[in-house]
């Protein structure tokens, strides 16, 4: 398609707003603690939408509507699994993690928390968890950038390699200097854009089709199995899709939103805002794809994932189409910026500062943090350079990697006093190895999504190794009691 001026202006306005937020945030970012965790000053609304928008990548606007367009209602298992997982994370992890990370030597990253929680003098827990973050996030970020580049290529006719660099440059324009606050505030705006777009499109599309009943009749006439959640469903397939929800407890880019909250008082409100945002957005995405089956019945789409984009072009004037395109960019950018910052913190805080330069000045820390963001972005771009590469397929792998390596460790460390450092280390290693091995095996039970066995074996490893181990030191146990009493006073 040729790009028209109103659409381009809409996009430029959106990018300008992001840049202004980045500049304001940069002025409030004084040290590494601000850069990595925003000095723990997120309010309920920003934390809620930032957690949601960081979590929901371009998949929400492209992949999910595309899957619905192809498979109809049999594709709703994954959104159900995700919504349940996100709720449990808000209900059982948010408040305890916010309290414990501050009680435990004011930990600002996940590896930081693991080391301080178990008073690990050897640094091994910090190093292993930082390596897991760097490996899985570099691929995860790369796949998001590839998604953005394909979008720019298809929307603006931009050369693919150029689109990769342009997409990354736009994200870096506010993330590099504005850090966590810029990422969180832009996530808030991006989350609102995503939400509005996902509500508007299906309503207008169904209205255009002659109403809800008309839409259902047209879809039924094409293929009645599109109206049935069980069509084509297998037990192992349904369990695999629902199991995605297990991944939430170990995603560092979501967990840091809990850690960055101003107060645990904000959790109930943030949880409510976050869940309403997420569920309505998921419903919106589901019905975009569903309405697409009926709307494009006479000239089926070549690429199912373009169903949202096609709707934005055929249903709306160019100004609104520009806003809707900005909403897709928002979904991609809000995930990449948060992942880049977590990866940067693993390099700057967990390797550089903790291992080599314990007495680094604030200025030095900040420079290293920014170089790390830039370096990881460049590696992610280079990984995505070959458009035929399979980097897009690595998202489910990275999600499972974090979910299995960190999820059980996070949950048990918050609720089980007897857990030991060796238990945590065993959990991270067993979880990661299970995901890597399981995903390469095929057939029968091995077709199950690797996150489920990874989560289970990691949990078992933590429990067994901790029980064999001698009990944690008095210092660790006292700190656990302090954190629980502070949580109960809350």
């Amino acid at each position: 398609m040729t790009i028209n001026v109103p659409t381009l202006i809409s996009i430029i306005i959106y990018l300008a707003v992001m840049l202004v937020i980045g500049i304001v945030a940069a002025r409030m970012t004084k040290d590494l603690n601000d850069y990595v965790l925003g000095g723990r000053r997120l309010g309920a609304g920003v934390a809620a939408l930032s957690a949601g928008a960081s979590d929901m990548s371009g998949w929400l606007m492209l992949g999910l509507p595309g899957a619905m367009y192809i498979g109809g209602m049999s594709e709703i298992w994954l959104p159900i699994g995700l919504a349940v997982g996100a709720y449990l994370n808000w209900q059982f992890v948010a408040k305890p993690l916010r309290v414990y990370t501050e009680v435990s030597k004011d930990s600002i990253t996940v590896p930081d928390f693991f080391e301080n929680r178990f008073r690990d003098q050897s640094k091994i827990l910090r190093v292993v968890s930082a390596i897991v973050i760097l490996v899985f996030f570099t691929f995860y970020t790369s796949s998001s950038l590839v998604g953005g580049a394909i979008l720019l290529e298809n929307s603006f006719g931009m050369n693919y390699e150029l689109a990769l660099w342009v997409g990354a440059a736009v994200i870096l324009s506010y993330t590099l200097f504005g850090g966590f606050l810029a990422a969180s505030w832009t996530d808030f705006i991006q989350g609102i854009l995503m939400f509005l777009a996902l509500i508007i499109i299906p309503i207008v599309a169904i209205f255009e089709l002659g109403g809800w009943n008309e839409t259902v009749q047209k879809i039924g006439a094409i293929d009645p199995t599109h109206l049935d959640v069980y069509s084509g469903a297998t037990t192992i397939g349904v369990i695999s899709l629902l199991a995605w929800g297990l991944g939430y407890f170990g995603q560092p880019h979501i967990l840091v939103r809990f850690m960055g909250l101003k107060s645990t008082k904000d959790v109930p409100k943030a949880r409510l805002i976050g869940m309403v945002w997420m569920i309505l957005s998921l419903f919106g995405a589901v019905f975009v794809g569903f309405a697409g089956i009926a709307y494009f019945r006479d000239s089926p789409l070549q690429n199912a994932e373009t169903v949202f984009i096609m709707f934005s072009q055929v249903l709306f004037n160019p100004w609104v189409a520009g806003f809707l395109l900005a909403a897709i960019l928002s979904a991609i950018m809000s995930t990449v910026d948060s992942q880049l910052l977590v990866s940067s913190s693993a390099l700057a805080n967990d390797f550089y500062k903790s291992l080599f330069r314990r007495n680094a000045s604030k200025k030095e820390e900040m420079i290293v943090g920014r170089i790390a963001v830039l370096g990881i972005a460049i590696i992610a771009i280079l990984l995505g350079y070959d458009p035929e590469s399979k980097v897009l397929e690595l998202v489910s792998y990275a999600w499972a990697g974090f979910g299995a390596a960190f999820g059980p460790v996070i949950i048990l460390s918050l609720f089980w006093k007897r857990m030991t450092r060796n238990g945590a280390l065993a959990g991270i290693i067993v979880g990661s190895v299970t995901v890597i091995v399981w995903s390469s095996l095929k057939g029968g039970l091995f077709d199950l999504y690797e996150l489920a066995p990874g989560f289970l074996f990691s949990s078992l490893a933590i429990i067994i190794i901790s029980l064999i181990d001698k009990a944690p030191s008095k210092e660790v146990q006292e700190e656990f009691d302090n954190y629980r009493s502070e949580l109960e006073q809350a």
């Binding site: 209602m73 919504a83 709720y87 259902v216 109206l227 069980y230 109930p268 409100k269 869940m275 589901v286």
Partner: protein, 32 residues
Amino acid sequence: MEYAITEATWAWLMVPMLSLIVLSVVTYFTEK
């Protein structure tokens, strides 16, 4: 013939999602 989304589909689509929203509202008031 008249097509309709199956009842099981409506149940799977609405029950988990609405339960989560109700839970979020209830816990908002109990924990506020």
